[in-house]
Symmetry: C2
Subunit: 195 residues, 2 copies
């Protein structure tokens, strides 16, 4: 590394840490045998647009991982704030010991083995495409085959987050946070940036 | 699929769609040659805890992808709301045509080739570990070697999102959203769930 590489003495290095940023809480649905199971997760992201893919990282100890591999399908269900207690419950108890199939009203889509949640405003039904090994965690990348919602969550035919009312996980302080107000237009406000 | 699989007739299938959920906006730093470059992104997630890994999905057309592969390092920089214009700007112009190295005050950590942003409250310096091909996008999985912040963003020695003031992308309506108020304790409120 060159001597000229610029450091910043004001910065503190916390060391290798899981990042501090808000992540959307979801419920990952998978059948265990023929029974629906749901696991609370917040490590998920879009992985491509066309076809739409979604990725979720789960600790290898979860029953859900086995279910996803068994059926090669899973769902990503977005709960609203009013489901916060039931959603948190699904992260506190393991599907290996507790039957979570009756926590929600369950439905299925065209894949037939990815359980989804009637109470959730948005449910994405996914076909497993890849499993990426990340040590103690593994990442499941799935192709979204259907996105289920209801008329009441749409504005101009698109899912409206103000109606969905998703919530976020702040990992370090173990808080669920709401989604805040609009701040600016994306792919737009930067046009006013002057160097 | 068995006849007994339960459907939900109230649900509308929007078809294969990128999910509608709020994602944290970040700036991905990579050197292009020896020059710092930053790309706005919102498809990122934690991928493991120990060691801490982070994953980001980027369209293959970006210069940033080349820079990450060249140096096998990158950074994930979390901007606060007051950087929203500059952050959006970095998503509007390509590093192949526009030098973005002077948009922010840049610093480097121990890897020496992952540029970070002095103005950002949180900067994670990452060593590239895996590239996952997802068609038009590729996912970069990195091990976090350092997390840089400042005293003023900490509460009880942990990064405090209320001080960081990150913002979120709502993909479909192209809005940047703030982070809202605490709603409940995670890994806790579900204890009150009664079946």
């Amino acid at each position: 590394m060159s001597e000229s590489i610029k450091k910043n003495e004001k910065k503190i290095d916390l060391g290798p840490k899981i990042a501090s940023y808000p992540m959307p809480v979801c419920l990952i649905g998978a059948n265990l045998g023929d029974k629906a199971n749901f696991l609370t997760a917040a490590w998920l992201m879009s992985a491509s647009i066309s076809p739409p893919r979604i990725a979720v990282a789960l600790n290898k100890g979860h029953s859900t991982n086995k279910g996803i591999k068994e059926h090669e399908t899973f769902s990503v269900c977005i709960p609203s704030e009013d489901l916060i207690t039931a959603a948190d419950y699904c992260g506190l108890v393991s599907g290996s010991k507790t039957d979570k199939s009756a926590v929600f009203d369950v439905f299925y889509g065209k894949l037939g083995t990815a359980p989804m949640i009637s109470e959730c405003p948005v449910n994405m039904e996914c076909k497993l495409e890849k499993v990426v090994d990340n040590g103690e965690h593994e990442m499941f990348i799935g192709e979204i085959v259907s996105t289920f919602t209801e008329e009441k969550y749409l504005t101009n035919r698109a899912v409206d987050l103000k109606k969905v009312k998703p919530f976020l996980l702040s990992f370090y302080d173990r808080q669920y946070l709401g989604v805040g107000e609009p701040k600016a237009r994306a792919w737009s406000v930067g046009n006013s940036y002057k160097r």
